[in-house]
């Protein structure tokens, strides 16, 4: 299926659950309502025409300083799906507000989501509901803040940790 057909299938199935779609640079993309995202994953994975069986990547983007997006939902959680049987790709996105920075966890569908979501929590401070073990992944436990947020200065120092002599 080409990108347009995939997006059409999604919009016809989920209707208002799909906020918007685009096909820029040949990457079909759909922004999905947070409440519908798990259902959309399950549909994408199990529908015989889609069969997106690989969660290729999961990351997030902080739109705090993006032109014309300053007031909108601050974060987008971005999922890149790939279908081995059909050799096509799809990008799904979920928008989350800063004061309610949480999204449903995809660990139940793809075990790799465990580490990807831990990294997103670590870097962006977005919580994943239903995640079995949401710890920091790349940073250490005592690290303060979430470094890939746009309001985290690139030069910021962290307090030294370790035993006090």
């Amino acid at each position: 299926m080409d990108g347009q057909a995939i997006l059409l299938r999604l919009t016809s199935t989920f209707g208002p659950g799909i906020v918007e779609t685009h096909d820029h640079h040949g990457d079909p993309t759909a922004v999905v309502e947070r409440s519908a995202i798990l259902e959309a994953f399950r549909f994408c994975r199990d529908d015989p025409d889609l069969r997106f069986n690989v969660l290729m990547d999961l990351t997030a983007v902080d739109y705090l300083k993006y032109p014309e997006r300053e007031f909108g939902p601050r974060f987008e959680v971005v999922y890149h799906l790939y279908s081995l049987p059909h050799n096509h790709r799809l990008r799904l996105k979920v928008r989350v507000e800063e004061d309610d920075a949480r999204a449903p966890s995809a660990v139940g569908l793809w075990p790799i989501a465990n580490w990807f979501e831990r990294e997103v929590w670590d870097m962006f401070g977005i919580r994943f509901d239903g995640h079995p073990d949401l710890r920091r992944l790349l940073m250490y436990e005592e690290f303060q803040g979430h470094p890939l947020r746009k309001d985290y200065p690139v030069t910021k120092r962290q307090p030294l940790i370790g035993p006090n002599n």
Partner: protein, 457 residues
């Protein structure tokens, strides 16, 4: 496992204390030779069997993604060298191609072939390192020395082309830094001849070796379903019998013009991973040989009637505005430009003034070239892709290496995400080693080919 990582680990805690036997917690790494100094595995043991394991990463985190946001697009290229430091060229090209996708430009034919050639040489050196190091960790030190010897031949080629062995920074958005050196094809064939000899020797040493097979066959196996569910790509997925390769599934650059096979395994264990890597090296060398034969000349337009003049007077004429015909004269301003003189520059780089720096002859010889140069170098004026987002995947040595870039229309990337190919296998490592012996951790970890530079970024 959350509580256990915080728990103090005492040798001696475990069996013998109290009634009955207890599990023993053993900490492997980060200061452990087989963990490369950057991974910590906390294993819960029942006797010598691993019951449970937790993997801790992040010891080599260098804020790659954050640093990329801090500078113009081309500034990220040296950072990408340090992602997979065994095959840095593939990261370089992958990042550059993602920005090109955002810009909507297509590189020249010659550049595509150069990228294919250099990527495949890198892939061979990556597999050589992986097999050599993991064999060494099993005690086969000879193999390590042989493989590093072969890698040396290939790194000499890389050095010939890029001027560096590891931190190569060879790609540019819209092209590459410089052309291949003279008689490169001859050197490649000589190096490949030596490499093939080494591979044959190593094959004889390892492939049927009783000790090696005892340690590898059936160890660290992951079923096909699990491999897919963990989003594992590359040699590990192919060892499980799925012939997915980005070069074939979604051909980029010139991969649809070369013939190659995708070796696959059946059992998904360490031994199949070894066999897949060995077979892939031969295929990569095949690709390089075909690409060298097909390397197109590119649109080199030179007015050979123009006389050569010495660089000083060339620059003088340019300053005086006497640029008529000057841009057509082939001239070598400096020996440091080797490989990137004007005719070669045209063959390798996109003719797009918004993206590619002009050849140095133009920068020093005409006001237009100078202005173009500054427009790309000045803060706030560099490469400015339109607003949007793009994901571009290449086949790295460990699997799908993806870059996801979000542009806000300025000269700095708003967000750069690297999908590291050895991240998913590391996430699945506990699954691979649970139920196996402590000694099996080492070959399984070796077969993943963990590269901390891309894992931790």
């Amino acid at each position: 496992m959350a509580k256990r990582t915080r728990r103090e680990i005492y040798l001696g805690e475990g069996s013998g204390t109290g009634s009955g036997s207890q599990h023993l917690y053993v900490n492997m790494g980060p200061s452990h030779p087989a963990m490369h100094g950057v991974i910590r595995i906390l294993a819960e043991l029942d006797g010598e069997t691993v019951v449970n394991a937790d993997v801790e990463i992040g010891y080599l985190h260098r804020a790659f993604e954050k640093e990329c946001e801090a500078g113009p697009y081309n500034n990220a290229i040296p950072y990408t060298d340090r992602l997979n430091y065994v095959s840095p060229l593939i990261n370089n090209f992958g990042y550059a191609s993602c920005v090109e996708k955002l810009l909507g430009i297509d590189v020249t034919e010659r550049c595509k072939y150069v990228r294919v050639i250099m990527s495949e040489i890198s892939r061979v050196s990556d597999h050589l390192t992986c097999i050599g190091a993991s064999a060494m960790e099993l005690g086969a030190f000879t193999v390590f020395l042989y493989m590093i010897k072969a890698r040396e031949y290939l790194w000499e080629l890389v050095e010939d082309v890029t001027g560096a062995r590891l931190t190569i920074s060879y790609a540019r958005v819209g092209g590459v830094k410089a052309d291949l050196p003279d008689a490169f094809g001859v050197k490649v064939r000589k190096a490949f001849k030596e490499t093939r000899q080494v591979l044959e020797e190593v094959g004889k040493l390892l492939t049927g070796n009783r000790i090696f097979m005892d340690r590898m066959v059936g160890v660290g196996a992951l079923s096909r379903e699990d491999t897919i569910a963990y989003a594992i790509t590359g040699p590990l997925l192919r060892a499980a019998g799925v012939s997915y390769d980005v070069r074939r599934a979604q051909p980029y650059w010139a991969y649809d013009h070369v013939e190659f096979e995708i070796p696959t395994g059946r059992n998904g264990d360490n031994y199949d991973r070894y066999l897949v890597r060995m077979a892939e090296m031969e295929q990569s060398m095949r690709i390089v040989e075909q690409a060298l034969d097909a390397l197109p000349g590119g649109p080199i337009n030179v007015d050979w009637a123009g006389r050569a003049i010495d660089p000083a007077s060339y620059v003088d004429l340019g300053k005086q505005g006497k640029t008529e015909g000057l841009l057509l004269i082939p001239i070598t301003l400096s020996p440091n430009l080797a490989g990137i003189e004007r005719p070669l520059h045209r063959a390798l780089n996109v003719p797009d003034k918004r993206v590619v720096l002009p050849p140095k002859e133009n920068t020093y010889g005409s006001i237009e070239g100078l202005m173009n140069h500054f427009m790309l170098i000045m803060d706030g004026y560099g490469i400015r892709p339109p607003k949007g987002e793009a994901y571009f995947a290449v086949e790295g040595a460990n699997g799908e290496l993806g870059f996801y870039i979000v542009s806000d229309g300025t000269d700095r990337p708003y967000r750069v995400r690297c999908r590291p190919p050895c991240f998913p296998p590391m996430a699945a490592l506990p699954r691979m080693i649970e139920g196996e012996m402590v000694a099996d951790i080492v070959p399984t970890f070796g077969s993943i080919n963990m590269i901390a530079g891309e894992l931790d970024r």
